[in-house]
């Protein structure tokens, strides 16, 4: 669907060269909500702009539905861009146009007849829940409403792809949740493939199906959101995940635990269906030991459950060892090290 093939982008700042994107290969499948996460300066914004060629790649190619967009003529590219809606962190609405005028703009560019424009604008306003704001100007709207207009405008020409440039970064948490729900709805109802960039792991966690982590212009890790969240390979990825889910008590609490003579701590992780089963209580009962949950959480990712528990076992050492061995056959378990990084 969208294929980045060994794409690099180098900017020249005076005599200095800045490698914003380095040799990125990435495939976004049809129907994906693909999130690219990275700290600021990681190159994600440049990568996103390569999709509709607001930036041209220095090397490599970008294919959309099998068409190499870098080889399109200026005219063909403008036509292609109508198939890629884009929304922005700062909304980028036309202040000189009403809400309806903003949504109508891409349709006018596409040469849509006037009566069809009116119909489509009405339809879109209803979809984003702003039917009563058609005649308002952008400066009369709240941030969340502006982004809704942005989304309606991006969807006007029925694109196959929607790209989102930090679309929720300027919004408060409640409004962010609203806009993310709307994006999910766009993906489900119209089958629109969404590629978004963000620096907030919450966004990835709540809407994305796939994720790529970027650092210094490179994609350092990518895959399904569930896999990446439950089994991160890279330090930066772990940092992002910790930003949304603390998976260990704080160092102070841990130190206190050890000082008060608490026993060894084990981390159990339940992924998917196993999270629904009473593994811990069944196994410990069988071996005649008890357990103490020190810390833990169960979350939902991509509509699958993911449990992370920190427990200690109380009982005869041999029985504890046997219980741990048996649990290991059912799910992930490991001793919590002093400092986990």
């Amino acid at each position: 669907m969208i294929e980045f093939k060994q794409v690099s982008k180098t900017f020249r700042l005076g005599k200095r060269e800045v490698h914003a994107v380095k040799d990125v290969s990435l495939t976004v499948e049809q129907g994906d909500i693909y999130g690219i996460i990275g700290f600021s300066g990681a190159g994600k914004s440049t990568l996103l702009r390569l999709v509709n060629l607001l930036e041209r790649p220095s090397e490599g190619s970008i294919e959309i539905q099998g068409v190499n967009v870098t080889s399109l003529s200026a005219k063909e590219l403008r036509k292609q861009r109508r198939n890629i809606g884009m929304i922005f962190q700062n909304f980028n609405l036309f202040n000189s146009r009403t809400v309806a005028g903003n949504i109508a703009y891409p349709l006018k560019l596409a040469g849509t007849p006037r009566h069809e424009i009116n119909k489509r604008v009405e339809e879109l306003l209803r979809f984003v829940g702003l039917a009563d704001k058609a005649k308002d100007y952008p400066d009369q709207l709240s941030g969340g409403q502006k982004q809704r207009v942005g989304i309606a405008r991006a969807l006007a020409t029925n694109p196959d792809i929607l790209i989102c440039d930090e679309a929720t970064s300027a919004l408060d948490p409640d409004t962010t949740a609203d806009v993310l729900r709307l994006l999910k709805q766009v993906n489900r109802e119209f089958g629109i493939t969404i590629l978004l960039i963000t620096h907030e792991m919450e966004v990835i966690q709540s809407v994305c199906t796939k994720v790529a982590v970027m650092e210094n212009g490179e994609v350092i890790e990518s895959g399904g959101v569930f896999e990446v969240f439950t089994d991160p390979q890279h330090g930066t990825t772990r940092r992002f995940i910790r930003s949304v889910q603390q998976d260990l008590p704080s160092p102070n609490v841990l130190a206190e635990w050890r000082e008060s003579g608490g026993g060894k701590l084990y981390r159990l992780q339940f992924k998917g269906p196993v999270a629904n089963e009473p593994v811990l209580s069944t196994v410990t009962a069988k071996h005649g030991i008890t357990f103490n949950i020190v810390y833990g959480s169960v979350r939902e990712l991509e509509e699958r459950l993911f449990g992370n528990l920190i427990v200690s076992f109380l009982g005869a050492p041999a029985a504890v060892q046997n219980a741990i061995k048996e649990i290991a056959t059912l799910t992930d378990i490991g001793e919590v090290q002093e400092i986990e990084r």
Binding site: R78, K79, R81, N90, F94, S96, P106, L109, A110, R153
Partner: protein, 220 residues
């Protein structure tokens, strides 16, 4: 020696008409040229939609050469060119030519400054929607900058009233001519007072009109 106001009044009316003609004609021609140059300056800037170093640098240079020259010197300096284009260097029409040149370069800068203040993200959004550079100029740049642009043109209009008086002193006619010949050279204070009052009223009118129109455009 004082003028006889009953016979002199029609001359004041005529001179006011000449001043208004000079200002409005200059504003029209100057705006057309100035807006084109201002747009060119903006779109040919680095990283802009029609980036072109040569065009940008050339325009920039010409504007920077002409703008610092005091109007009264410019007026005299290009009198040969004025004669060539208009056929004469005396009268209202002859004043409009140099005024238009100076006004268009001033307006070009005003337009450029207003365009620079447009959020580049809005231009990027239009590009992302598949708008061509020409489309962006007419459907994004101009409408988005229109409110401040009207204020800018109002400012230029007030300057033009000033220029028309300067042009008047060297044969351009209008209120400047009257003020110089009767008020200054013949020490007639009443003529001076009347012309100054009329100029003040004209400036007030222009400013009021500009404010009203721009407020309407900017909805404030």
């Amino acid at each position: 020696m004082n003028v006889d106001w009953t016979s002199f009044w029609p001359r004041i009316v005529e001179a006011t008409g000449q001043t208004i003609t000079m200002v409005i004609a200059t504003l029209i021609f100057g705006s057309i040229l100035g807006i084109i140059m201002g747009l060119l300056l903006f779109v040919t800037r680095q990283n802009n939609i029609l980036e072109n170093k040569f065009v940008f640098n050339l325009l920039n240079l010409i504007i920077n050469i002409i703008r610092p020259v005091p109007f009264i010197i410019f007026l005299v300096a290009i009198s040969q060119l004025t004669r060539l284009v208009v056929g004469t260097t005396i009268g209202t029409a002859a004043a409009i030519f140099p005024m238009t040149i100076v006004a268009s370069f001033t307006i070009a800068r005003v337009v450029e400054n207003n365009l620079v203040s447009i959020d580049p993200g809005v231009i990027e959004a239009a590009q992302a929607m598949g708008a061509s550079p020409m489309r962006i100029i007419f459907t994004v740049l101009i409408p988005e900058a229109l409110g401040p642009l009207v204020l800018g043109l109002t400012f230029v209009t007030v300057t033009l009233i000033d220029f028309s008086a300067v042009a008047g002193t060297v044969g351009g006619g209008g209120l400047g001519h009257i003020a110089m010949t009767y008020g200054y050279q013949r020490f007639d204070a009443s003529v001076m007072i009347v012309t100054v009052l009329i100029l003040i009223v004209l400036v007030q009118l222009a400013q009021w009109l500009g404010n009203t129109v721009s407020r309407k455009i900017m909805r404030r």
